[in-house]
Amino acid sequence: MSMSEPILLEVVTPHKRVFSAQVSEVSFPSAANGYYGILPGHTPVMTPLGQGLIYYVQGGEKHWLTAFGGFAEVSSDHVTILARDSETVDEIDLDRAEAARQRALKVLKEAQTESDLSSAQAALDRSITRIQAAGHPGGHGF
């Protein structure tokens, strides 16, 4: 896009740089307040990142990323996401996510201890986030 897109979105995790480019709109899940929608000129905000889907608009099209906790810093012209983990839709292995979901559901039914339950619940949430992200083919917004 030669048209200037005013927000620099950077998504980094301890394992890799996931995304870095100019975009025109960003949405990310916060840990406490639901989803934030960011347009250019947003007031500076810093908030813990929740788990869910990030989307950004680039060249008029929506693209999706997963987010698994961390932090988000917003300024008028940039959004920096320090995610514990994050991936692009291309990186998601849908079969693996589906298998993980089945496994987690099975464990949830049979779990005996509190810690088994919570780790299975966390695994289930992660797999659902991935499946949701993979369900957005990207390109056309909705």
């Binding site: 301890p14 916060s30 500076p44 320090l82």
Partner: protein
Amino acid sequence: MAGLQDIRRRIRSVKNTQQVTKAMKMISAVKLRKSQERLVSLRPYADKMRAVTVSVVGRIMGHHLADELVLGPSAQAFLNPREEKRIRVVLIASDKGLCGGFNANVLKTATAFLEDRNKADVVLDVVGKRAADWARKHGFSSHAEYLGIPLTGVERVSREVCDDAAAQYTRGEIDAFYVIYNHFYSAVAQEPVVTKVFPLDLDAPVIDGKVGVAHLLEPDPNTTLEALLPRFVETEMLRSLLESSASEHGARMAAMDKASNNAGDMIARLTLTMNKIRQASITNQIIEIVSGANA
């Protein structure tokens, strides 16, 4: 002909040493690649983490907002720095030697940094046997020793050290937290550095001559800062460990490469001497035979 035998033996021994140094160089190259991969993938995150923390904390300081906020223990370490009486220092060296100036350089830096300080006012953690030996020699009783940490254990170590350091700060036992380690520039260039992890020396970001608008910290300042700052400290510590690990393997690889080359030179020199002696003895024998025939 006694010299000839000796030289042959020398050559054999140098060749054996060269085999060992070549193997060590190859092993270091593999380990370097692994450490470097981890480091390079962490760096963008660590850089951003530092930039965000500096920006957020700097603006709060720049606007003197700290007094108005109700701060938790981590935020206090950053936002209410106090006079530096007792410090905690993590000194990162290696377990093994044969890595050129790697240990000597970082330990020299540590000596210079801690020289003027009262030993009782330094809480020292050491990573690596060489650092532990140095501490003992210089009369420091180390608070914790981390020896033989594998690459997979660095996260656990950084979490442990940082949790403990934060708790110590809260109890008023330390006033600052430093890390001394070798910064990795490339396989052949490393440099020891002293980094202050907290409290940060902050310059508030200035935009158009004014400090940038302070961030809204949501859901509330305390929750956000108490989540962010420990994570920042941990990331800095993790990065230092990985920088040091990559530096160590880089330094060892360079040292072993040099050793292999030196061994090669030595073999060439010894071979030359050996051939000269051999030639001299042959010439001698010919002269003896010729002069015998003439007689």
